[in-house]
């Protein structure tokens, strides 16, 4: 192998050459997360997109130790890694984080995540939320938003996509009384890395949910990933906030909100809401979710206290 190639990528924590799709939001999230952690970290990933596109033997883009066990147990595995680091006297030096998708977090891995949070492990759990089972071909998860058509919640003559709202996992995490919960978006990478650094500085369980659009599953041009992510935030559908023991609720304010239809109409998964007659009621329901977020998270007020990068 060409030595210059080895040295060029030797210092990178997440190298190019992995198998993510063009425009993959999750891969952008991983790069930003590792920028925040630095090299002294052990990363645990459940089965999912990140696992699939980064870990095909004998190749690996990971410049940090990375452990994949199964789909539904990343938080438990991370608990064990943390316990072992304690026994080896490395608990203060080496951080433990999870990078997992919404299927492995909101659905099949929720029991293990709840256990990790309840036991109080010093683990930062980061969910890259692409709002469905993308790796298996776009099936509905409990993080899929209301109205989205997926392969298992398809729109049809009688159905208008997923009927239930997105599961509010940050609220479930908060209910465990853990010291830090945040939401972030790949459209705001500095905010994302700052939140990861903030979480790593706090001892105990932390939960961060990163909204990470998927061009294939959502149906938009791969060049638009960041724009889609930004619109999701600007509509109020994805409120960006953080809650810690010191500061009850810090939010990214939305001085000028964008109507949800401007976000929805760019994506194939919501196309049925615009094509058929009589679907305006559903669009109103989705707009109501955004309106409710504005009230619940106080997104509309001025004088934001957090960095507006």
């Amino acid at each position: 192998m060409d030595e210059s190639i080895i040295s060029k990528y030797d210092e990178m924590l997440f190298t190019p050459g992995h198998r993510a799709c063009p425009g993959c939001g999750a891969s952008i999230a991983v790069r930003a997360i590792l920028e925040a952690t630095g090299p002294d970290v052990i990363v645990v990933s459940p089965t999912g997109c990140v696992e699939t596109f980064t870990a095909q033997y004998p190749y690996s883009p990971w410049g940090v130790p990375w452990l994949h066990v199964l789909f539904e147990n990343a938080a438990a595995v991370a608990s064990g890694v943390e316990a072992a680091l304690k026994k080896r006297g490395l608990a203060d030096k080496v951080k433990v984080i999870v990078i997992g998708g919404d299927g492995g977090t909101h659905d099949i891995g929720l029991g293990a995540l709840s256990g990790m949070m309840e036991r109080g492990h010093n683990v930062t759990y980061i969910c890259y939320d692409n709002e469905a089972y993308m790796n298996t071909g776009v099936q509905r998860s409990s993080a899929t938003p209301m109205g989205a058509s997926t392969m298992t919640s398809p729109a049809g003559t009688l159905a208008w996509g997923k009927e239930q709202p997105k599961k509010n996992l940050p609220a479930i995490a908060l209910a465990h009384g853990i010291p830090y919960v945040a939401t972030a978006s790949i459209a705001f990478p500095k905010d994302l890395t700052r939140k990861v650094k903030q979480a790593l500085a706090i001892k105990g369980p932390k939960y961060i949910e990163v909204h990470s659009p998927c061009p294939i599953g959502w149906g938009f041009d791969a060049a638009q990933t960041i724009e889609i992510a930004r619109l999701a935030v600007q509509t109020g559908l994805v409120p960006l906030y953080e809650v810690s023991e010191d500061q009850p609720l810090q939010v990214r304010k939305l001085p000028k909100r964008v109507p949800v239809v401007e976000y929805l109409r760019l994506q194939r998964r919501f196309r049925h809401l615009f094509e058929a007659e009589g679907r305006q009621a559903y669009l109103n329901l989705i707009q109501a979710i955004a309106d409710e977020n504005v009230i619940r998270y106080k997104l509309g007020e001025q004088n934001s206290e957090i960095d507006q990068n």
């Binding site: 090299p39 699939t52 452990l67 066990v69 608990s79 316990a83 080896r88 293990a112």
Partner: protein, 402 residues
């Protein structure tokens, strides 16, 4: 030779004493009968400062096994115990541990599998891991349970092996029984079992990937390597048993143990706590002039193919006690015994006998009936059914089954 201390102790306490002496770094468990006394004893040892381990009370058996996967991959010694449904819930992780060569030690406190739900022992739970790629050792009494747990870590962590080991202990019959047990000083156990020296583990100093995906180009090679590792464990199990004997004076067999097999016409084959009953029965029947012998299968995986062939010798019939059934086929142990003896120099008749399910008693009368069946088969020159149910209460069955 180490002297040890003889005391009367519950089986679960003896196992907990053995685990403490092995100095595990991480213990994680979830309660299930009849495993509970083991994990309660370990919790008390940690609470009293007698055991310096991270003890993680998991939210399920699945999480307990997953926690140990993370701990073992980070380079420390890890242990758990479970039973029945708990072991089945761990199944996915147990396959993973074997394939990633993480030498976690398990106690399988045997209990029947639901449904119907029940607490008593058979081997349906642990024998479901036949093809997981782990090592499974079955013990016959409390002393062997203590001794085999000390051996288990040494076998599991050997760099030629690096596989999970499950020590299978019949629930209640062994976990809740009080027997005289000789336990050994910490210094002697330390001399036998050195600290864990992981072959590879997660550290930022040398980043490494655990649990990659493979495709058609590499999967078979991983299978082959795992197969070879389990096969290599055959010599290691025997060697560790002999090393243990030299140091502590106890030998319960390596892959198998034999009893009165030399001139036997009928040989009983079994695993677990029933072996004690069978030894007594063999003595009594021998006193009556019946040429019967006994083979204890101690290692179910790796399977003792060559040892069985040799031990069976010229016996005409082999009667396998099975406490696990492959529904629609036959007893699980009988299947393997038949396979092992297929090309034996003197292939015997092999009877597959379902006995002891859900903790049903196996006593002298059971053994007499089995020996009679074996003799009838020898007279007839054939075995009537591939799976015979001993003591089946046909009067309680719906008419269609009778």
């Amino acid at each position: 030779m180490a002297h040890g201390k003889l005391s009367v102790m519950e089986g679960s306490m003896a196992i907990a004493q053995a685990i403490k002496a092995c100095r595990p770094d991480v213990v994680s468990a979830y309660p299930i009968t009849p495993q509970t006394h083991i994990i309660e004893s370990l919790a008390q040892m940690v609470a009293n400062g007698e055991l310096d381990a991270e003890y993680i009370r998991a939210d399920s058996e699945f999480s307990a096994a997953s926690i140990l996967a993370g701990a073992s991959a980070t380079g420390v010694r890890a242990y758990t115990a479970s039973s029945s449904q708990g072991l089945l819930l761990m199944t996915e992780v147990i396959y993973y541990l074997a394939r990633t060569r993480l030498p976690v030690v398990f106690t399988g406190a045997n209990r029947q599998v639901t449904a119907p739900i029940g607490l008593q022992p058979d081997h349906q739970d642990t024998m479901s891991f036949r093809d997981a790629g782990i090592i499974e050792l079955y013990v016959e009494d409390v002393q062997e349970a203590y001794d085999t747990h000390l051996q288990a870590f040494k076998i599991a962590e050997d760099h030629d092996v690096l596989l999970p080991v499950m020590v299978c202990v019949d629930g209640f019959v062994l976990t809740h029984v009080y027997e005289p047990v000789k336990t050994f000083e910490q210094a002697d156990v330390d001399a036998f079992l050195p600290p864990y020296d992981p072959a590879h583990y997660m550290t930022p100093e040398k980043p490494m990937v655990f649990g990659s995906g493979t495709d058609d180009l590499n999967t078979m090679e991983f299978h082959y390597m795992n197969h070879q590792a389990v096969l290599r464990a055959r010599d290691k199990i025997e060697a560790v048993a002999r090393e243990y004997e030299a140091m502590f004076g106890h030998y319960h067999g390596g892959l198998i143990d034999t009893y009165a097999t030399e001139d036997a016409e009928v040989i009983l084959v079994a695993m677990g706590s029933v072996i004690g009953t069978l030894r007594e029965a063999v003595d009594i029947l021998r006193g009556e002039g019946v040429k019967v012998g006994l083979i204890k299968v101690r290692s179910f995986r790796p399977f003792p193919t060559e040892a069985l062939k040799q031990a069976v010798g010229r016996a005409g019939a082999v009667a396998v006690f099975d406490r696990a059934l492959s529904f629609g086929f036959q007893g699980v142990l009988a299947t393997d015994v038949k396979t092992a003896l297929y090309d034996a120099p003197h292939r015997p008749l092999v009877l597959g006998l379902m006995a002891g399910f859900g903790g049903r008693e196996v006593n002298l009368d059971t053994v007499r009936e089995i020996v009679q069946r074996a003799r009838r088969a020898l007279d007839a020159g054939r075995v009537p059914h591939e799976a015979e149910f001993i003591g089946l209460k046909t009067e309680t069955l719906p008419q269609v089954f009778v």
